[in-house]
């Protein structure tokens, strides 16, 4: 599939960068004229993945989170959220609703459930001690293509 646009962003694993990551991904998909719903879906899923990287991947220790977004010709958006943190021992367990490794910190354990419900595909690659890559895929409605066809 031909790539329409692509971006990479590395930022420190700090809480303030959760909102920054949301702003960046919004700006990246905005030229496609996504619906407000689609935009919020993408922002929420990215927010969950970036929070996981900071809170679980690095357990609030210093580290770098990478956001790698690709927009394909058919208006499919793919976002990788990559950390080099501690990784996930049991991915299936981590994706179970309400599962959390830090309940005392009032984490809800709903991060993956939210990602899965707002995106079309969510996949996770992880190696304990090496890090985690969460891949989020969403086919955007492509208002741009629609209006171009009408014109």
């Amino acid at each position: 599939m031909k790539i329409k646009n692509e971006m990479r962003l590395d930022f420190p694993a700090a809480g303030k960068n959760e909102s920054f990551a949301r702003l960046v991904i919004s700006a990246f998909v905005l030229p496609l004229n996504p619906t407000l719903e689609e935009l919020a879906d993408v922002k929420t899923a990215v927010s969950e993945a970036v929070t996981n990287a900071i809170v679980h991947g690095y357990a609030d220790a210093p580290g770098t989170v990478r956001l790698h977004a690709v927009l394909y010709e058919d208006d499919t958006l793919k976002v990788d959220v990559i950390d080099n943190g501690r990784g996930i021992e049991d991915i299936a367990l981590a994706r179970t609703p309400f599962f959390t490794t830090c309940a005392e910190d009032e984490r809800s354990g709903m991060g993956f459930t939210v990602m899965e419900s707002f995106m079309d595909e969510v996949s996770v690659q992880s190696k304990p001690g090496r890090g985690t890559t969460v891949t989020l895929v969403k086919r955007l409605r492509a208002c741009e293509t629609e209006s171009a066809r009408r014109a």
């Binding site: 909102s19 949301r22 969950e48 009032e106 809800s108 709903m110 459930t113 419900s117």
Partner: protein, 101 residues
């Protein structure tokens, strides 16, 4: 600074802006400060001003629910946007927290 109103045993707090893992930490601290008052039995979270919310807010609400349930109180939410409802419903939150009109 949270905007709130106390009336008898009811504390109404108006949340605003973006609620994520980072922004919720100071809100939680301030809420718990307000909930230190043993006279407060019911907490109402007014969600109208919330422009973004992820699953971090679920933990915030469940945590306050636990604290208030211990003293025989309750938590309710009001003026939730459809998106906020969707996230809260995913977690089954409305089984323990009342949604007020």
């Amino acid at each position: 600074m949270l905007s709130y109103e106390k009336y008898k045993g009811k504390l109404t707090v108006r949340l605003k802006g973006e609620l994520d893992h980072a922004s919720i930490a100071p809100i939680r601290a301030e809420l718990d400060q307000l909930l230190n008052d043993p006279k407060v039995k019911h907490l109402v979270l007014d969600m109208e001003g919330v422009s973004f919310m992820d699953s971090s807010a679920i933990g915030l609400v469940i945590g306050r629910y636990k604290a208030l349930a211990r003293r025989g109180g309750s938590v309710s939410v009001t003026r939730t946007a459809p998106r906020v409802d969707r996230i809260f419903e995913m977690a089954g939150l409305y089984q323990i927290v009342e949604k007020r009109a």
